[in-house]
């Protein structure tokens, strides 16, 4: 850990980076265990100081007002089947993560690698021997496999590596066309059975990005698909638009 990285980690936790620096730093966090640990260290310090402030309780009306406002404003993005069909199933490219739920229980976890830009190509599976037992170990292995595919010239230009054991994944994108200043790319996790979509972050261009899926009740891994859309405006969209650029 060198000094600039140490400074960056502290500034990141204290929200002192400008948007460009923040984006670059978050991209590095994906593959740099030492940097991630440093961020955790600073986060622990920040949380500890805040938790040591004399506790104060807001009035009961605060939650009532939050409940009122959130009832009027949709939260997590949900789309109806009509929207899904509007995109066109063929255009969605869905990443089918079929038949992997059972692999949660085998000794050698299987990562699923799916091409985003080779329409119709089925998923490949990479069986790995798990090293360590903690969530960080699993994430580090997942990152290593994703990075290996990223550097392999024979790999698809854009792909997803997903670990059904931990419900974490990486999405790799290359050569995304430049977008106008008022447009951005956004990643979505879709449940094709319930038609619920969840925004999973934005893309600033080519790169390797991590994502996590918190399975909804009754949701199996084979229900999940990933797409990338192009959205208007700089703010993250709450519902996916119709301009699907990957996964279709």
């Amino acid at each position: 850990m060198n000094i600039p990285d140490d400074e960056l980690a502290c500034d990141y936790v204290l929200d002192r980076l400008d948007p460009r620096e923040r984006t670059e730093f978050e991209a590095r966090l994906v593959a740099d265990d030492a940097l991630r640990q440093r961020v955790r260290d600073y986060e622990d310090g920040l949380a500890a100081r805040i938790f040591e402030l004399p506790p104060r309780s807001p009035s009961r009306q605060v939650w009532a007002r939050i409940a009122e406002k959130t009832a009027a404003a949709p939260g997590g993005a949900k789309v109806g089947w009509g929207n899904v069909f509007k995109w066109g199933i063929a255009a969605m490219i869905a990443i089918s993560l079929a038949s992997i739920a059972a692999e949660r229980w085998i000794d050698r976890p299987t990562l699923v690698v799916v091409a985003l830009d080779q329409g119709g190509a089925g998923p490949n599976r990479v069986s790995i021997a798990r090293v360590g037992s903690g969530p960080n170990d699993a994430f580090a292995q997942l990152a290593a496999v994703a990075a290996s595919h990223w550097e392999d010239a024979k790999s698809p230009r854009s792909f997803v590596v997903y670990d059904p054991t931990t419900s974490q994944g990486f999405i790799a994108v290359r050569d995304l066309p430049r977008v106008a200043a008022d447009t951005h790319y956004q990643v979505w996790i879709l449940n094709r059975r319930t038609a619920i979509s969840r925004p999973a972050g934005d893309l600033n261009g080519s790169g390797l990005y991590s994502f996590a899926v918190d399975p909804l009740p009754g949701e199996g891994a084979d229900d999940l698909r990933v797409i990338v859309t192009r959205e208007k405006g700089s703010a993250l969209a709450r519902e996916p638009g119709t301009d699907v650029v990957l996964g279709g």
Binding site: C10, A48, V62
Partner: protein, 171 residues
């Protein structure tokens, strides 16, 4: 957090109950006004509701992410209310002693006092200003009449000292 992003209002309520005390304490500490702090806390959770889908567990812990949202809102509130915070160079800089007097004299627990006790007065002031005042690092350095690099180093040292002494409350 992902459940909140999926539209689970009960998950939002649980998050509110889990974090409301420290977050409200933070808002009161930063803006110094009970009513304004309640409004900021309320707006913070509405914003969480709308943007939870963008949360990335690999980039920050849920508490830190929530704190970041609330601190930004508090800083915006302070800058609207007290323009001099946004233009500290144009204002007369207070002395280091006055900064200490206004910033460091808070009810700290025994643990925090012990953790910060390892720091001299200057680093304590720098850390507290960084966490709660809404000043930029440059502004903090100006106020404390320090080189920017020294102010940043003091702030980092303070956070590490806290982390070393205190339990992890956020997980």
């Amino acid at each position: 957090m992902v459940r909140i992003g999926g539209g689970d209002r009960e998950a939002l309520r649980r998050l509110f109950n889990q974090y409301r005390l420290p977050l409200f304490a933070l808002a009161v500490r930063m803006v110094g006004d009970h009513g304004a702090a309640e409004e900021l806390l309320q707006d913070c959770f509405v914003r969480i509701w709308r943007s939870a889908g963008t949360y990335d567990a690999h980039q920050s812990q849920p508490f830190t992410w929530t704190v970041t949202i609330l601190r930004r809102m508090c800083i915006d509130h302070l800058r609207r209310r007290r323009p001099e915070i946004a233009d500290v160079d144009a204002a007369e800089s207070p002395t280091e002693d006055s900064v200490r007097a206004t910033v460091v004299r808070h009810e700290m627990s025994e643990q925090v006092s012990r953790a910060l006790g390892h720091l001299s007065e200057g680093p304590r002031a720098a850390l507290e200003l960084s966490l709660f005042s809404g000043l930029t690092h440059e502004e903090i350095a100006n106020r404390l009449r320090l080189p920017l690099g020294t102010a940043k180093a003091w702030i980092r040292r303070g956070l590490v000292a806290l982390r070393g002494e205190l339990q992890d409350f956020s997980r």
